[in-house]
Amino acid sequence: MAGIGLDAEKDSKVLSFETKCREGEAQTLSLVVQGKKVTYRGPADMRSLLESRGENTLYANVRINGEVLNRRDFENIPIAEGDEIDILYFMGGGIVQPD
């Protein structure tokens, strides 16, 4: 994906995606995502984080610091230094309605 650079360090990944970030918007945050320590560089909102990881935000629900957020407006969910984030995926069939 253009604009997304992955620099693997020991246990952490630096995720940056300059194309999305205007100067001044990007922040560098240490996060724990899916149980792994990562250094994230980009806008401090959940949608930007998910997109930087190539996650399909349509499938996901998220849990921050132990609290499940049952909402999908990821762009309005702020993330901050030290946050522990779990990405929960909807799995289990489609949208086919029973008769």
Binding site: Y59, V68, L88, F90, M91, G93, G94
Partner: protein
Amino acid sequence: MFNLTEEEIQRYARHIILPEVGGAGQEKLKQARVLVVGAGGLGSPVLLYLTAAGGGKIGLIEDDVVDITNLQRQVLHFTPDLGRHKAESAEETMKKINPLVEIDVYKERLTKDNIFPLLEKYDIVVDGVDNFPTRYLLNDACVMKRKRRVEGGILRFMGLIMTIDGGSSACYRCVFEEPPPPGTVPSCAEAGILGAVAGVVGTLQATEVLKLITGVGKPLYNRMLQFDAEELSFHEVKAQRNPKCPVCGENPTIT
């Protein structure tokens, strides 16, 4: 000493030799009453292993017929079964594996009208459904009737599993409060599924059922396990009862 026949003692010898299971555990399996919803990708391994394990009475509810696109992962059904009712095809395979198991077959779709009488007949429920409305119906009914349930889901290269003690541990709605909006989450038919991923998740579900019945180990309560086949990794997410849960919270709106 145990209420097992000579044939059963031989057939289940590898269980009985496990000190944690033993003759007593095998007898519990013989008395068990498990309802498996769906005889598809997840239901196949669940039904195969429960049947082989001597899981007393197994209820199976399914309303679909075997389609050629099912055979890549739904290992209960064979090529000559194309066009047959999945419930019939599943029953035939199960009887070949273990004729000692009692099988109740329901050739119908699970609905709000038939779910409660059905749940009364079983102690443990396994979710192998292929759509969200039925998944949420099953969750809500099992919480209300305080049934233990092993939840499973698969999509593409991923799977999830969660064991729920209805009314006591976190339920599916505690984690996923409402079904995803229509059009956002594809089905396996739309997005694909690596066949063996269904085997991994269904086999984990069967393992949980055998543990619940025999009392071995620690069930996957208040934990959701996500499986990623591409990375070949598991990620465990802690789940808590959500006080705002619409079915098991403090002021349930689904009753």
